[in-house]
Symmetry: C5
Subunit: 322 residues, 5 copies
């Protein structure tokens, strides 16, 4: 099902009119039109191709998922691909949703293949800044990009928050906590790899939009602002990457130290426990040692066990091995 | 054995005609010709050199395997080298197959040294887009490059899938699973190193093709499309590289933690087992300890063993060492 | 509450006058004005927008925290965002404080959202170089940037000092010292990540200020000087990063070695302690071994224990395992 | 001792004539001359300086070993420094041999300080392509560079082969094999560091030769070919670097896993061996336990030992610890 | 105390004349003057400022230590900052000594704050190439830079030597040797970080000197030579960095392997020692086992101990665990 909007001289004049009326509306040069297609079929692509003169390659790119964020310039129009991202509330899992956009002089056509793209939020953003609506397609695109890029930044910040949450676990000793750290850090890295894949190319996309053409002078600051946000998202993503690496290395070092501590403890207790074994072994010999089968022997044995064990315990305690 | 094709004004007019007829066909300026040589001998190279005026260096490069992907410009023709790649179905092993291409105004000559290059798929691709056939050599080359680059991207994605498959093994404890992780990760890195070697230089190859000359205006979007796919393949390759590094580090950290858990378990059981040894050692002494050779002694001994062992067991269980 | 300053022909003529008088003062083209707003409300932003003709986007950026360091050029003014940093005295924690600046031909307006920014020090710096005051807004901005950038360099140096302090702990063996090393190194990395986020973009900010416009010829050396300091801060930050990585790796290696030493010690003592156990076990057998229930047996047993244990001790000592 | 060659109009007319005849030959503008000096003394350097008008700095650079690969342009001549490399047959050790070259309009003078440089192979290469001999000094230099750069590529490939050989050892368990892996990997890294030092700057050297001057149009494809080979050598070197890093990390991970396996085995056997100790300890007590000094006791004891030990063995086997 | 030199038309005419005579000498346009100030006071800075027209900022930079290597251009003069380095003979400790230089058309003024800078060597270098003395300030600066940059290269090489010395220790097992490796590698990294800080910016410094101005055509090859040496020092520094990283990783891997070997040894001996304990335990039971209190029992026990222990020893030896 298609959503539509018609702007004239900066005013929204019609909404959700049938796609069949498009040709008619386009005849008025002051008309600016938005058409949104959700999982379009062959027919709808054909209609878009005919009506707006979209190049076959652009149509093909829009029909297949898995494009990288890019801006392709054709003679009469542009094709843009971008990805909205979101982080699942309690995990570090990143989900992405692709949007394909055709930009002509009078129209912006958006193609979506799943319902993860927050198209309603984009519409709301348009309605929040009606004063810019007179700038035509550049205005529509700005609202879309601004929302997408803000989402990238938000995702980077959420991943940063996830690391902050992990920080305490990093020095914790519980088995489940350590496993959580491993799985979380791995998931974080994975999400970061995906995030970078959709965020990094946006720099070039927004930058090449700011060159002549589509964006008029009054809009330039707005696109500059989007560009700044792209840079901010990229820088933040790189920071998070750095922090994840740091957490991984710290984790390894903490574990290595923990191992040392365990070894020391083991060794200490093993030594302490070896004492009675050695002493009772001595007094268990079938030999006429001093005190054999005698009360004095028992006292000597017991005293030796208690004293030597206690001594060892103190020694290890002082050396901080226990 | 040579394969041939003759196009005139965008139509395929002849196929698999003898290589001897080439001179004749080339006299018609509207003719565009494809010649494919499989493991050509000295004679065939000499023929190609004479017929198409190919530079000796280009012939030499085509005769020897092991060229890097590149585009060399000569005065009347270009020499291009590229590599098709494929991933073996059940492993992460990458195999590459080199192709050498001479491009003149009227002809594209392809040289293959092994049968790994999917030349039939390239031919099929040409036949799928007959509407572009009128663009001459640029059309032929586009079909070839498009197929090669799509193969690069597919390989990067398959390696990515291989990592996804490894992910569960990463946290598994079985000896064979861990060995599998090691060998697979190493194989993945190796394949990635090879993949990068053939993918990265393609950026420059395709980019320098898009500058003036061979590719006319109508084809530019198609080459731009190939270029986008090159970038996509490169980005994906770098992502996979990042993920492999991440998996390797996680693996190390998981192993280090596993070591700690084992050590704790060992220590705990060693301590528990030390208890009866110490106690029976005590009651084995040839000394008149309380209960010597008496039922009370036996009860004391057995009680001590059971109670202390059980106590230790509970302590370790609570500290999560067992 | 707002702070104000009015300069005329390089002389400070008025301070802390009410914001309402601004319009009046601006009519004199020789006036240069500083307005500082601390946590401004909607009204004050509206006033600034009207009085100085600031673009809505710039106002919005100033109203929200979390901008990256940047310089946005509008038609009649610039918007600059920068961050002052400081390191807490006894830790490696970095705190940042954001400042937003509007620059018009006649005025510099600074917006602060927290009281961490050392605005009084900036004022003091202006008063220290009254000879430059004639260069207008460029002079005011220089004092601000110079102070901010010097703070960046100071922070990098303080973090460097923190590493120097850690160096001895790096080779220490105490449990608390090792934990300190881990936590400190992690905190250092975290502070560095944050520091880079505010320092690195300053290069571009100061560089784009030095291009034509705002800064007149006499001020160029002063901005060049700030630029040098930015580079110095960046280089130092990267050095510290390098040292932290180095410390982390050394730490891991030291721990791994410590583990080896502990293992050797454990092994040695375990072997020495095993000797009496084995020997007394032998003499504890209910078998007619030589010396059974005899003085000679006791002498043999005791001698064997002492001699073999001492021998082992010496062997391990010589092999440097103890 | 000096070697000489004289070309006229693309033909080798004289070889190994005395250095004293050089002045005479140079008077004919169609003469092209090669002079090779092996460990030249002060006199020979002075002669070269006078005869060919070589700048003092270039002479000084040629007199001292340890130059980086570079091309220095003087007003009437160029100075070039390059390094031939070779890998010792059974090891990963790289040896380098420096050559200094002066290039004038009519002559190429080569200076060698050790006999590691394969100058005879360069001469052979010249004789293999007599058709290019008419291009003068550019021809001579091409033969030299082509040989040097091919050597770089061969070295990179040999190091790659060395890693392939190490691959099986990587997963081997023998003590000597592991040591071999460590020493080899370290040696490989060292050779790579050296190889990069002489290979990477060649890109700039060959690139700056291809700009106007020395190389005429017909030679350009030949220098382009050398340049391609430089890139190939560089890419391969970087690949090898990547593989060595990968092998090192895999090695660490394999060792860490091996440690875990050993620990598990140790623990398992320790537990199994603890069983008879505990049981015989029990039956060794001087207490009236059931079966004391009785056949039933002996049967109970022996049965317990066998059954519990066997049970433990099976448990560990099933858990894959043994 | 100040050192001075006066050159006229390429000849040294006066040395160590009083600073007060400077004004007088400068009136002759053919005069070129060197003034060296060691720990100058306020007065001397003021004198330099007045006499040579040095900008306040340059004076301030010269008065404070801690400048990064840089070249600042003022309208009538340049300010240059550089650092001489040296490596302590028996350690890897790097010490740096800063020099500040003002360059006017007729004079070079050097400012030193410590006596680590080898100014006498610079003077000696000037006297070694009197033929260049006619090139004025460019000649003086060349001597200084040449010496500084050669020092950088020498330091990089000395650090490289330090690593070579460490190489054998890398595979050594002694406790002190391992500690030495750790401390040395850490010290090396630290020195490298410092070295890079003073070496890397020199590329830009020397490069911007070679652009028009100060350096005339005859000196260009000499500055090009210095530039080559800067590149050489940088490349060598990066190589050393690479080698240190390599040594650190190898060290970690060697230690990890050593740990495995120790564990195997420990395990083997523990198993061998467990044999007599188990057997004598059996024969120590108060039970009528075969051979109880009988010569046959003693023979059986002793035989079992010897045979089983010897067997285990051989098994471990064959498995290369001992």
């Amino acid at each position: 099902m298609a959503r539509t909007r018609l702007y004239q001289n900066g005013t929204l004049v019609l909404e959700n009119f049938p796609a069949d009326d498009i040709s008619e509306h386009l005849t008025d040069p002051s008309s600016v039109l938005w058409l949104d297609l959700y999982r379009p079929g062959q027919d709808e692509f054909a209609m878009v191709g005919d009506e707006f003169g979209i190049h076959d390659l652009a149509l093909e790119d829009a029909a297949h998922q898995g494009q990288r964020p890019k801006l392709d310039r054709y003679r009469t129009h542009e094709f843009l691909s971008a990805h909205a991202v979101s982080i699942a509330p309690d995990s570090a899992d990143l989900s992405t949703s692709e949007i394909s956009v055709f930009l002509t002089r009078q129209a912006m056509i958006t193609i979506r293949h799943d319902d993860g793209f927050p198209i309603d939020d984009v519409v709301a953003r348009w309605d929040q800044s009606p004063d810019l609506a007179g700038h035509g397609v550049g205005f529509l695109l700005h609202g879309l990009l601004d929302h997408v890029v803000d989402g990238h930044y938000a995702a980077a910040q959420q991943l940063d928050d996830r690391i902050e949450e992990l920080e305490n676990l990093l020095f914790a000793e519980g088995r489940h906590q350590i496993r959580t750290v491993h799985r979380r850090l791995y998931a974080l890295r994975k999400s970061l790899v995906r995030l970078r894949r959709v965020v990094l190319p946006m720099r070039e996309v927004v930058n090449s939009l700011m060159r002549p053409g589509l964006v008029n002078d009054s809009l330039v600051p707005y696109y500059q602002d989007v560009y700044d946000h792209v840079l901010r998202a990229i820088e933040w993503t790189e920071s998070v990457r750095d922090m994840v690496a740091s957490a991984m290395e710290t984790n390894l070092s903490v574990q290595s130290n923990r191992m040392n501590l365990i070894m020391k403890k083991v060794t200490s207790w093993a030594a302490i426990i070896a004492v009675p074994t050695a002493i009772t072994g001595f007094y268990g010999q079938n030999l006429p040692y001093p005190g054999f089968a005698d009360q004095t022997g028992f006292i000597a044995s017991t005293t030796a066990i208690v004293v030597v064990s206690a001594l060892l315990y103190l020694v290890f305690k002082r050396k901080d091995w226990l």
